[in-house]
């Protein structure tokens, strides 16, 4: 085949261009540190690179969520810790109150301390994180216990209790006429509010939530001076308006205990909420009669995403920290203890004088009545404190179960954080392996390509120099 100068020079040019292209390619790699600039240079590398970048960014996002969730849980943990301590102190006070070594005044002092601890628990459950109430579920702009009076409020509330909330207590009434104190053993349920209206029946629901019976309630405005109040007939059940108690007669009581697996449903209406009382929007299914909005207590778990298809709830609800039932029980017990007011000497004197007793007989009668009262009240107070002891222990164990659950939740988050941090590292390294060029390799490649290029130039320069024309005379 003929080879002409033109062919040789054109080949030389093509080869030099090709070598130059190789030099350029390695130069680009070395200066940018990346194997490719555009997908067309390596479509598979490009598509992997995009996937890894997305994974890295996503993992960082999850890590940020983990930190947020952990902070939230830490605040919750601290509050729960304080509530547990308060409950422990209440237990101690109840133990002291249940013993016979203290008189009525002392026991009322204990009650005062318990009131202080209850106020502290109310404050703890209102704890906030970045301006949001931690125990309020999604309704983070509303506190679980009200911080101020709400005189115009009007709610229709549905509360659920269980048969285990029925307390056997000794409650007393005083006959206004005879000033005689009668103590009766009563079975009662306690509402967290006083002065609710429209409470006409107590509904029993079975374990599946189907209706299992209705107990009609008769409303009594007060128990003072009403002997029936704490001593209902067998087929009666009373609702005492000024104390917020539901007193069950024997039939009612039996029906409730027969439905032990199920629950009790109460519907009532509360107006004029005061500071320190439970916020019905957080605790109960309720309807605000002023704005017309209805609120549900269920489905208030805040989930955060910590991974693909990994969602963990990070909040604790107020009901588990300070339940409505516990609140009602504490308030009620305090009311009972404070309400113990022995008949004054003057009253008794007046009464017995009217009966016709005089002088020593009068004094004796007064003393007799006072001793009897003291004994009765002592029994009432003993029952109040020792019942409370049992109740506080039950509530305490519920709180510490939640506390444990919280701890294991935090552990879980910490494990997730570890895994995410490791994932972040491995995605970063995969991304780098895929996209980044090995600097050493690129330097060597560039040097080799450069060398080839220089050789091509040198060779090209030497071949085209001479032709026959140079040798012809």
């Amino acid at each position: 085949m003929r080879i002409t100068n033109q062919m040789t020079t054109s080949r030389m040019l093509i080869n030099i261009t090709r070598n130059m292209a190789a030099v350029d390619k390695f130069y680009q790699q070395l200066t940018t540190g990346k194997k490719i600039q555009f997908p067309s240079e390596g479509p598979i590398i490009a598509s992997r690179a995009l996937k890894f970048r997305a994974n890295v960014a996503e993992t960082e996002s999850f890590l940020s969520n983990v930190k947020q969730g952990t902070s939230w849980m830490e605040i919750t943990e601290k509050a729960m810790g304080n509530i547990t301590e308060a409950l422990t102190s209440i237990k101690e006070l109840c133990a002291q109150g249940a013993s016979d070594n203290f008189n009525i005044d002392n026991k009322q002092t204990f009650a005062e301390q318990i009131r202080g601890l209850l106020a502290q628990m109310e404050t703890e459950v209102n704890v906030t994180y970045t301006g949001r109430y931690v125990f309020s579920g999604y309704r983070t702009d509303k506190p679980p216990t009200l911080t101020a009076d709400q005189p115009g409020s009007d709610y229709s509330i549905t509360q659920y209790l269980s048969s285990g909330d029925v307390e056997k207590a000794r409650l007393w009434t005083r006959d206004e006429a005879t000033l005689e104190v009668s103590v009766s053993e009563t079975y009662r349920l306690k509402l967290p509010y006083t002065g609710v209206t429209d409470l006409t029946e107590l509904r029993l629901l079975d374990a599946a939530g189907n209706p299992a019976g209705v107990i009609p309630l008769e409303t009594l405005p007060t128990a003072k001076g009403d002997p029936r109040a704490y001593n209902p007939a067998g087929d009666k059940a009373y609702y005492i308006e000024d104390t917020g108690e539901i007193i069950l007669g024997e039939d009612a009581r039996n029906a409730v205990y027969a439905n032990a697996d199920g629950s009790i449903r109460l519907d009532y209406r509360k107006t004029g909420l005061k500071a320190g009382e439970l916020n019905p929007e957080i605790y109960f299914d309720c309807a605000d009669n002023v704005s017309g909005k209805t609120y549900r207590a269920a489905n208030q778990d805040i989930y955060y995403e910590f991974g693909v298809n990994t969602r963990v709830p990070i909040n604790t609800k107020a009901e588990t920290a300070l339940s409505a039932a516990a609140y009602g029980e504490l308030r009620s017990m305090l009311a009972v203890v404070d309400g113990v007011v022995p008949s004054t000497e003057a009253e008794l004197r007046e009464y017995f004088a009217a009966q016709g007793y005089v002088g020593d007989g009068l004094t004796e009668k007064i003393k007799e009545r006072q001793t009897a009262e003291r004994q009765q009240f002592s029994g009432v107070l003993h029952d109040a404190f020792s019942n409370m002891l049992g109740i506080v222990e039950k509530r305490s164990s519920q709180v510490s179960k939640e506390y444990t659950r919280l701890g294991s939740g935090m552990n879980r988050l910490s494990l997730i954080q570890n895994r995410l941090e490791q994932d972040a590292l491995s995605y970063e390294s995969l991304m780098s392996e895929n996209e980044d060029v090995d600097m050493l390799q690129a330097t060597m490649d560039l040097n080799a390509a450069n060398y080839v290029y220089q050789m091509a130039l040198k060779a090209g320069g030497s071949i085209s120099q001479t032709s026959l024309a140079d040798f012809i005379r």
């Binding site: 085949m1 003929r2 080879i3 002409t4 100068n5 033109q6 062919m7 054109s10 080949r11 093509i14 490719i36 600039q37 555009f38 997908p39 067309s40 240079e41 390596g42 479509p43 598979i44 490009a46 598509s47 690179a49 995009l50 996937k51 970048r53 997305a54 960014a57 996503e58 960082e60 996002s61 940020s64 969520n65 947020q68 969730g69 970045t130 949001r132 309020s136 579920g137 999604y138 309704r139 983070t140 702009d141 509303k142 929007e281 909005k293 209805t294 549900r296 489905n299 208030q300 805040i302 989930y303 955060y304 995403e305 693909v308 298809n309 969602r311 032709s467 026959l468 024309a469 012809i472």
Partner: protein, 614 residues
């Protein structure tokens, strides 16, 4: 009896032939680096011999030059042109795809996949603080970035298509120009060769022009001899894909015509081959007859084909399997039934419907001036432009497709991919559904959510703009959404409290369940045929990358092939300095010998005339 100065003439003929040889050598040397030059050689032969008087043999009368020939291999020329067309096509495609790649900019931080990742990640932040208006504003901002990225990509691609359109016109102009020049050369060559000479340099120029033309469009060039009127006429014809372009000294011209049709009222309506097209794209027409050149023919290559494919390629996405329900051939109203799953976004203005008749095996394209879907998209009504009773719609056995297909992934394909992306994304976020109406498990649509004040306004989070404002709920039609008008709902963007993050009216201000459920959109593997949304976006750019790489590879390999063929041509036609030097020496020595001979003859004559005799 021989003539008196016979020897002089013989020697002189040597001088003349040597001179001719040297002239040719110097011509070759002068043109050694001229493009397209074929080396020439002197055709030298012994002159007609004379018989000797005594009847004993013939005596030579010297040499004569009877022509100057060219070394050229027509076969290699043909091969070169064939490969150059393909090279032209793939070079054009490689350039265009590289441009599209840079526009989409997927590998940078502003690409679509980065934007969607950022948006979904910001949603993860939002879910931890759904009550906080800063977080809401941030999420909306990133949603807006994603919308802006989609819009920018779409608009730049549209601009690219319009640039391609202008390039088609430019290429057509160049083709016309070359054709005209070839025709002129044909004329010159004809005149010159009447005398019987070969117009070597003109032929070289003509071949070079034909080579140049072959890069733009594939051609067949041939010189035919035919007998006309008793004489043999040699005519050079160039055909483009079988259609005569240059015939002797006559050249046809190609023109461009915007795609328009006239509707019933006499108004001009733009005809869209693809719903996403710019209006008024060009068809290439033969100027003399107005016949539209079939640029989609499988055999057409060259830069023209590369540009057309990039401009019109829709990856075979037309509504195939349409069947005529009724046709009125006076008004042109045609009702067709569409198969299930047909695309729902055909442009309501003009378009093309293709009818394939198996009995003739041909596809006929008809233009229509309006297109309306019925309520559920199962039938459509079209108005055919220029209806006639011969139209094939109702003929038995025909199959029709609404829209015509080009089997290449050009700009319309990428536009359509972007449209599908935004439509599917918007439907998923707004209503928790896929485009086919099936629900995405675990996703609560934004329209079912409640905003910060507990209201449900059933408003979409991502919507599309018509005339600068968000489309109203009554007019909302997902198939009118394109990546060009896709946007975050401006009302929500202005007031982040309207973002419906809650799934219950009174759930609470931190209710994040709707936002939480959006994570299931990102992980739904059935959202697209290609997988989840990230796979889809990455798929767009990796398809583009693969096609661009393929075009690059083809261009590079055809570049190598053409230069190999060119080398072979150079092997035949190229000038080699050494060879010319040798020829030069040869002729020089011939000349020197002849000159010496003349001296000797002169001496003999001198002796004979001056010194012999009286």
């Amino acid at each position: 009896m021989r003539s008196s100065f016979f020897e002089f003439n013989v020697a002189a003929s040597a001088l003349f032939t040597a001179r001719a040889g040297l002239d040719t050598v110097s011509h070759n040397v002068a043109n050694a680096s001229a493009a397209g030059y074929s080396r020439q050689y002197v055709k030298q032969r012994a002159a007609q011999p004379m018989p000797l008087n005594n009847g004993r043999g013939m005596i030579g009368t010297g040499s004569e030059v009877y022509g100057i020939g060219q070394w050229r291999d027509i076969y290699l020329d043909g091969k070169y042109r064939e490969k150059t067309s393909v090279l032209g096509e793939y070079s054009a495609k490689s350039t265009q795809l590289a441009l599209i790649e840079r526009v989409m900019g997927e590998m940078s931080d502003t690409g679509l996949s980065a934007a969607i990742t950022d948006f979904f990640n910001e949603l993860k932040n939002l879910e931890t603080s759904a009550n906080d208006s800063t977080f809401r504003a941030n999420a909306l901002e990133l949603g807006d970035s994603f919308a802006a990225a989609a819009r920018t990509s779409y608009e730049t691609l549209l601009k690219q298509q319009s640039d391609l359109n202008a390039e088609v016109k430019a290429v057509v102009t160049v083709i016309n120009d070359i054709g005209q020049r070839i025709a002129n050369l044909n004329d010159q060559i004809f005149r010159y060769e009447i005398r019987g000479d070969a117009a070597n340099d003109l032929r070289d120029e003509r071949a070079r022009l034909t080579d140049e033309l072959s890069r733009y469009v594939n051609i067949e060039a041939a010189e035919t001899e035919s007998s006309e009127g008793g004489t043999t006429v040699r005519r050079y014809t160039v055909s483009i894909n079988g259609h005569e372009f240059v015939r002797g000294s006559q050249a046809e011209t190609l023109g461009v015509a915007e795609r328009r049709a006239t509707d019933a009222n006499g108004d001009a309506v733009s005809v869209y081959r693809n719903p996403e097209d710019n209006p008024g794209l060009y068809d290439v027409v033969w100027a003399a007859t107005g016949e539209i050149m079939d640029v989609y023919h499988p055999n057409l290559t060259g830069e023209l084909r590369g540009l057309i494919d990039a401009r019109d390629g829709n990856n075979d996405d037309a509504i195939k399997g349409a069947a005529a329900v009724s046709y009125d051939d006076t008004t042109g109203e045609l009702v067709v039934s569409l198969p299930a799953g047909a695309r729902r976004d055909v442009n309501p203005a003009g378009g093309v419907i293709a009818v394939y008749d198996p009995s003739t095996g041909r596809v006929t394209e008809y233009e229509y001036t309006s297109f309306t879907y019925n309520a559920d998209g199962s039938t459509a009504t079209l108005t055919i432009a220029n209806p006639s009773p011969n139209d094939l719609f109702t003929r038995a056995g025909v199959s029709m497709s609404v829209g015509v297909t080009t089997d290449y992934k050009g700009v319309p394909y990428y536009l359509d991919q972007l449209n599908s992306l935004v439509r599917t994304f918007a439907t998923a976020v707004n209503y928790g559904q896929r485009l086919d109406g099936s629900a995405i498990p675990g996703v609560i649509g934004h329209a079912d959510g409640y905003d910060l004040t507990g209201r449900n306004t059933a408003s979409p989070l991502f919507t599309y703009l018509e005339n600068g404002a968000a489309v109203s709920a009554a007019n909302y039609d997902i198939y009118r959404m394109t990546a060009a008008n896709f946007a975050v709902n401006p009302e929500i963007k202005a007031n982040p409290a309207l973002l419906a993050a809650a799934s219950e009216a009174t759930g609470g201000v931190s209710d994040n369940r709707v936002v939480l459920s959006f994570a299931n959109i990102a992980s739904d593997g059935s959202l697209f045929r290609e997988g989840n949304i990230r796979d889809y976006i990455i798929g767009i750019s990796s398809t583009l990358g693969t096609d661009a790489k393929q075009a690059d590879n083809f261009a590079a390999s055809y570049g190598d092939i053409t230069s190999a063929i060119d080398n072979q041509r150079a092997a035949v036609s190229g000038v080699d300095i050494n060879e010319e030097m040798v020829s030069m020496i040869k002729y020089q020595q011939q000349y020197q010998a002849a000159a010496k001979l003349i001296n000797i003859i002169d001496g003999i004559y001198d002796l004979t005339i001056n010194q012999l005799g009286v």
